[in-house]
């Protein structure tokens, strides 16, 4: 029999998944809309499909499909993987930005990386070589575009000429591909990028360039991208150095949450928080990272902090709303007018929310079965 918290999480995850499926239906079943907002899109509400986040929504749908027995989620997920493959250039590159009226944008390093998650998950689910071949081509394009001398990706960036630290989250999917189809070029390029970014670490554990812009405070969203990239890359490379680097910063953020009672929306390199708003996506992502830390080295303090980080997200999820397209969605920020994705419901906020709830449910269940935390 589930605990009250598990019951709540399952109900809310189901609402979140329904919203994600709605965001895909709104795009004709090909891609999930970037966001829903009556403020930015007064007539339609839904924005164009976004290949990047559709890519990493695929594993969420598959995982949820298995956890809940909803086969339709898995089928939708696989259709999204097929759509991503249809967007791939012959050289393996995948497009950035959104797809407007069927027209895709120029290739993007980060977005290609994120779509590899979806292709890997589709391959894991079906065993179909086409997905892995697509993922491998994408990973090889990423490896080929790395400036090996500087250890950064100079082109195809979100901000021209700026190679951010959250590219660790490009190295991670490259290593996921290499784990399924061994390729030393891909693995080596990922390692080179990780080494460069690890060199940007400040003495206090913060990492330079981990925001969208250089020298600006970083949203917890991109901080979590950076740290998770290091953490998972450390796991795949079996190098504790990267994992430790992520763990130290994750612990600093955990202590800040505990002492302040909540996470800031963004932090600068001195760990000074911007507490005027909360970046809800970042909260979910950090909760996921903390739960990964708990899984690696059982310490329920991580899990406790993760549950606390999810609390404002649960409170912000729209349950009852006159507009049915809002039900189940997670806003970018709380308050709604906060600086991260102001007045919008981005699809990745709901994705990370569902991921975090599924993992929290699993970890609380494991704790129930265990006689003690050891």
């Amino acid at each position: 029999m589930p605990l009250a918290c598990q019951h709540l999480w399952r109900t809310r995850a189901a609402l979140g998944i329904d919203w994600l499926l709605r965001s895909i239906r709104a795009c004709g079943g090909e891609g999930s809309a970037v966001y829903y907002s009556r403020w930015f899109r007064p007539l339609r509400g839904w924005m164009w499909p976004y290949p990047e986040t559709t890519g990493y929504i695929i594993p969420t749908l598959i995982r949820y499909g298995h956890a809940s027995g909803r086969r339709d989620c898995i089928e939708v997920a696989l259709r999204q993987a097929d759509w991503i493959l249809s967007l791939q250039d012959p050289d393996g590159a995948l497009p950035g930005s959104h797809v407007t009226r069927g027209r895709k944008a120029a290739p993007s390093i980060f977005n290609t990386g994120q779509m590899l998650f979806g292709l890997c998950a589709a391959f894991d689910e079906t065993g179909r070589e086409g997905y892995l071949a697509g993922a491998h081509a994408g990973a090889r394009w990423l490896a080929a575009n790395l400036d090996c001398e500087r250890g950064v990706w100079g082109a195809h960036a979100y901000v021209d000429g700026f190679s951010p630290a959250y590219y660790t989250r490009v190295a991670w999917p490259m290593l996921e591909v290499a784990a399924r189809r061994p390729d030393e070029d891909v693995r080596g390029a990922a390692r080179t990028a990780l080494e460069t970014i690890a060199g940007w670490r400040c003495p206090n554990g913060a990492i330079r360039n981990w925001g969208f812009k250089p020298d600006a405070p970083a949203f917890t969203h991109t901080i979590a991208y950076t740290l998770r990239g290091f953490w998972e890359s450390g796991r795949l490379l079996e190098e504790s150095r990267y994992r430790d680097l992520a763990t130290v910063a994750a612990d600093t953020l955990r202590r800040r949450l505990e002492l302040r009672g909540r996470l800031a929306g963004a932090y600068d390199l001195a760990w000074q928080g911007r507490y005027g708003y909360t970046c809800l996506t970042g909260n979910c992502q950090l909760a996921l990272l903390w739960m990964r830390c708990h899984a690696a080295q059982p310490d329920p303090r991580w899990l406790s902090a993760a549950c606390k980080a999810l609390q404002p997200v649960l409170a912000a999820q729209r349950i009852r709303h006159a507009d049915p397209n809002v039900r189940g969605a997670i806003p970018g920020s709380t308050p709604f007018w906060g600086r991260y994705l102001t007045m919008r419901y981005p699809n990745w906020a709901t994705k990370f929310f569902v991921d975090a709830l599924l993992l929290a449910d699993r970890q609380v269940e494991a704790l129930r079965e265990d006689a003690s935390c050891g």
């Binding site: 605990l3 998950a121 996921l288 690696a296 303090r301 993992l359 704790l367 003690s372």
Partner: protein, 285 residues
């Protein structure tokens, strides 16, 4: 022995019981330092730690101890029993201080100059801490015998907040540890340990209450030992413990479910935190 007692709020049964019981044991209670609840800083701290709903619930239970329907009511009952059994009659900290001829002073912060001046003027040997926030070095240095505090969980392993609950989650027998407060968080030398009856932990609220009662008894025993000159402080090593914060509700739910079917627990003296369990093998894309 001349002592001062602190109180986190005016109706703290914990502090009231200590004032009356210390006086009965031959101590001269010279000063009672009560921290005003009504400070924005304090309110903000609690709001952040436990949230508005729980804060209201907690405040209601503290103001009307044992009120029906309050989960915090169970926390207060063991101390009410203690007061009844030991004929502790004062209704407020102020009344308790007046009853034993001690000066009673309300402050916003125990570290503020007025509190420091009062401690210095009272010429006391030791402070018995019964709540009121974090103590700064200036106050700690102002008392020759130091400040005694009853920590609600096993030390050195479990430092910080909700430590009895954390200890139980780890399968460790909860106990109260009296320490000489230093500048760290629960890192001062341990002077005395006191068991919390295992049977009290049929629920989290009852267990917390039993820990509060045990804290009073442990502090009284520690002051007795200090008077008799038999107190033997054992320094803690920083690396032997972890700092815990308020336990999140889902973990409290797990603990509440586990308590009734709890079997043996590991004594605190034998407990070590588990080593790394290795990297997980399952991916989570």
């Amino acid at each position: 022995m001349r002592v001062a007692v602190t109180a986190g709020y005016g109706r703290s049964l914990h502090a009231i019981a200590l004032v009356e019981q210390l006086a009965r044991r031959g101590c001269t209670v010279r000063l009672g330092l009560e921290v005003s609840v009504w400070t924005w800083r304090r309110l903000r701290f609690y709001l952040r730690q436990i949230g508005p709903a729980k804060l209201v619930q907690k405040a209601r239970a503290k103001l009307t101890p044992g009120g029906p329907g309050s989960t915090y009511g169970g926390e207060v009952a063991p101390l009410q029993d203690y007061c009844r059994e030991n004929d502790v009659r004062s209704r407020s900290f102020r009344q308790a201080c007046r009853g034993v001829g001690a000066r009673h002073l309300v402050v916003h912060d125990l570290n503020e100059p007025a509190a420091l001046a009062a401690v210095r003027a009272a010429g006391i040997d030791c402070v018995v801490y019964a709540g009121g926030g974090i103590l700064r070095p200036a106050l700690l240095d102002a008392v020759p015998g130091g400040v005694l505090n009853a920590h609600g969980g096993p030390l050195p392993a479990f430092r910080g907040m909700n430590v009895a609950e954390w200890a139980l989650l780890y399968g460790v027998t909860p106990e109260v540890a009296v320490i000489q407060v230093d500048a760290g968080i629960d890192t001062g030398p341990i002077v005395h340990t006191y068991p919390i009856p295992g049977a009290a932990w049929d629920s989290v609220a009852h267990g917390r209450g039993a820990a509060a009662r045990a804290s009073v008894e442990a502090l009284l025993e520690a002051v007795d030992a200090l008077q008799a000159g038999t107190l033997r402080p054992r320094p803690q090593r920083l690396e032997d413990g972890r700092q815990f914060f308020v336990m999140a509700d889902p973990l409290l739910e797990v603990l509440a479910e586990r308590l009734p079917r709890r079997t043996a627990t590991v004594p605190a003296s034998r407990f070590r935190f588990p080593e790394a369990a290795g990297l997980p093998t399952d991916g989570y894309l």
